[in-house]
Every structure is written in structure tokens, then in C-alpha cells.
């Protein structure tokens, strides 16, 4: 994957992440208020948006729950770092599975009532999954593009 393609993906993820923060951005960019109802519908299809599980910044709620916020911010951080990594070399999926363990353990433990839902734990465990997820997505795209190039030549 070349730098410009990775830059394109980074900006796509950045736009998606900024959408989550629309309520925080409206005081600074008033016309975003028109997008608010539509963005609310969009994000409601990828997240339950339960208020008690949603982070808020200076009284403005984000459009997705803490876990989803973590996944997307993790993806953004990972996409930024990968801009400067020329070739992704991960041989198997053990890192992805390892990175998803905290998230699934958290879901199971709070679901069975071992502890109450913690936004911090959800954010942190989600971000680990997001960081690892993007690496494997990029690796997949890298294989796909290499195969296409191979077919062309």
C-alpha cells in the first residue's frame, strides 16, 4: 500500500471519528446542526447509543458508546502510525485475538454482573481492538493489491 492510499484511508477514518464528536463541534461550526439528526441516525445503526454508556465532553455527548469510541479512536491512531510503516508483516491472527480478549472479557464480566459498566475500561479495551483491527485490515488490503499487481504483470 502506498503512502497516498494510506493517507486517504486515514482521512476517511478521521471524518468518521469527527462525526462522533459533532455535538462538541456544533458550538464552533453552527451549520453542523443540520447534520446532527442525520448523523444521529447513521451512528444509531452502528451503535446502541445508550446514554449511560456514552462519553460526554463539557456536557456534549458523543454519538456512540465508549467502546465504539475506543474502537474508532484506536483505528485512527493505528492508521496514523501505519502511515509511516512501509510494509506490514504480521504472520498470523494471534495479535488480533489477543487484542480482542480484553474487550470480550469486559463484555462478559459486566454482563454477568461481576462489576458495573465502566466507560474507561470500555474505551481502553475498545481502542486495543481498534488498533489491532486496522493493522489486519491494512495487511489484507496489502495482499489484495499485491495479488492485483501480480495479475497485471
Amino acid at each position: 500500500m502506498n503512502f497516498y492510499l494510506k493517507l486517504f484511508f486515514f482521512f476517511l477514518i478521521l471524518i468518521w471519528v469527527l462525526g462522533i464528536f459533532v455535538e462538541v463541534l456544533i458550538p464552533h461550526f453552527n451549520y453542523l446542526a443540520f447534520l446532527y439528526p442525520y448523523l444521529d441516525i447513521i451512528y444509531s445503526h452502528v451503535c446502541h447509543q445508550q446514554p449511560e454508556k456514552t462519553l460526554s465532553i463539557s456536557g456534549h455527548s458523543l454519538l456512540v458508546c465508549s467502546r465504539c469510541t475506543g474502537i474508532y479512536i484506536g483505528s485512527l491512531v493505528s492508521a496514523f502510525i501505519l502511515l509511516f510503516v512501509p510494509f506490514i508483516k504480521v504472520s498470523n491472527t494471534k495479535y488480533l485475538i489477543l487484542a480482542s480478549v480484553p474487550m470480550f472479557v469486559d463484555v462478559i464480566l459486566y454482563s454477568i454482573g461481576v462489576y458495573t459498566y465502566s466507560k474507561t475500561i470500555a474505551l481502553f479495551s475498545g481502542s486495543l481492538f481498534g488498533i489491532a483491527g486496522i493493522i489486519y485490515i491494512y495487511k489484507g488490503l496489502q495482499i489484495l493489491l499485491a495479488k492485483k499487481r501480480e495479475e497485471e504483470t
Binding site: N30, Y36, V46, H48, L144
Partner: protein
């Protein structure tokens, strides 16, 4: 058609799950990527073929699963909204109104946003149909589910290849 039967079946399941409130909140954004992974897994099991999968196949299966889930999800959502004259946007309308009134923006802008939203809600409450809502849900589902499906397919291929590699003695 038979070649892509598993995305159809799993896409239908994901479409149903995406409108069931409890399942929706549990699965969150993982329903569609997991569905794409299951579609690949089902295809391998159905054909009893555990050879190395190509990323391209993951992308196609993910895309198809996402499209089917979007179509079925939107159709179910349309009919449920039509019958009950209620949906997420109607249920959260008062909450949305409160949020919008609290925005530090001009009253004129607030009124414009409210009337745009109010028109959709009023149409659903009276007739059970809002073309603007249905169209936006369809477009939104098609775009998002396709993307999430393809991502799930890309990761799914790597997980399955890694697993199948271990199974080969």
C-alpha cells in the same frame, strides 16, 4: 447464485438482528463484520473446502453480506415502522429536540433543523411512512454495512487461513 448462498442467509440473519433492540445493543457495530466472517465459514463448511482463501473472496463475501443485511434490515424497518407508526427517530424525537434546543446556535437555525426533523416525525406518526427517512436509512445501511462487511471479510479470511493452517498436519 449457489456460490453466494451463505452471504444471503447470513445477511438475512444480520438484517433481522440489526432491528431487534436487544441483539442490536449487544452486537453493536460488530454484527455485520461477524456476519461476513460467518458467511465465509459457512461457505467453507458447505463445500467442505478448507484450502487457503483469497482476500478478494473475503471482500466479495463481506460486501454481499453487507448489501443483503442492508436490504433486509431496511425492508423490515420499513414494515415495522409502517405497522407500528413508530421507530427510533420517533421514540427519541423529544430527546433530540432537547439536545437541539441546547445547542449554542441561533434560533433561526434551530427552527430550521427542528422543522426538517419534525416533518419526518410527523409523517411517520400519521402515515407510518416517510420517504426521506426510508431513503436515508437505505443509503446509510448500504454504505455502512458494505464497508463494515468488507472489513469483516478481510479480517475473516486471515482468521480462517490462520486456523486452517493449524489444522493441516
Amino acid at each position: 447464485m449457489k456460490k453466494y448462498l451463505s452471504p444471503l442467509i447470513v445477511g438475512f440473519g444480520a438484517g433481522v438482528l440489526s432491528i431487534v433492540p436487544v441483539a442490536k445493543s449487544f452486537g453493536c457495530c460488530l454484527i455485520i463484520p461477524v456476519a461476513a466472517f460467518i458467511a465465509l465459514l459457512l461457505d467453507q463448511k458447505a463445500n467442505n473446502n478448507y484450502s487457503k482463501l483469497e482476500i478478494k473472496q473475503g471482500v466479495i463475501f463481506g460486501l454481499l453480506t453487507g448489501i443483503y443485511a442492508a436490504l433486509f434490515g431496511t425492508i423490515f424497518d420499513f414494515f415495522i415502522t409502517f405497522i407500528t407508526k413508530n421507530n427510533d427517530i420517533v421514540a427519541t424525537y423529544s430527546e433530540l429536540q432537547k439536545v437541539i434546543t441546547q445547542f449554542p446556535i441561533s434560533d433561526e437555525l434551530k427552527d430550521n433543523v427542528m422543522s426538517m426533523l419534525g416533518g419526518v416525525v410527523e409523517s411517520i406518526r400519521t402515515t407510518g411512512i416517510s420517504l426521506v427517512y426510508t431513503f436515508s436509512v437505505l443509503v446509510n445501511n448500504l454504505i455502512l454495512n458494505s464497508i463494515f462487511g468488507m472489513l469483516g471479510g478481510i479480517i475473516g479470511v486471515q482468521i480462517l487461513n490462520s486456523r486452517n493452517q493449524k489444522m493441516i498436519p
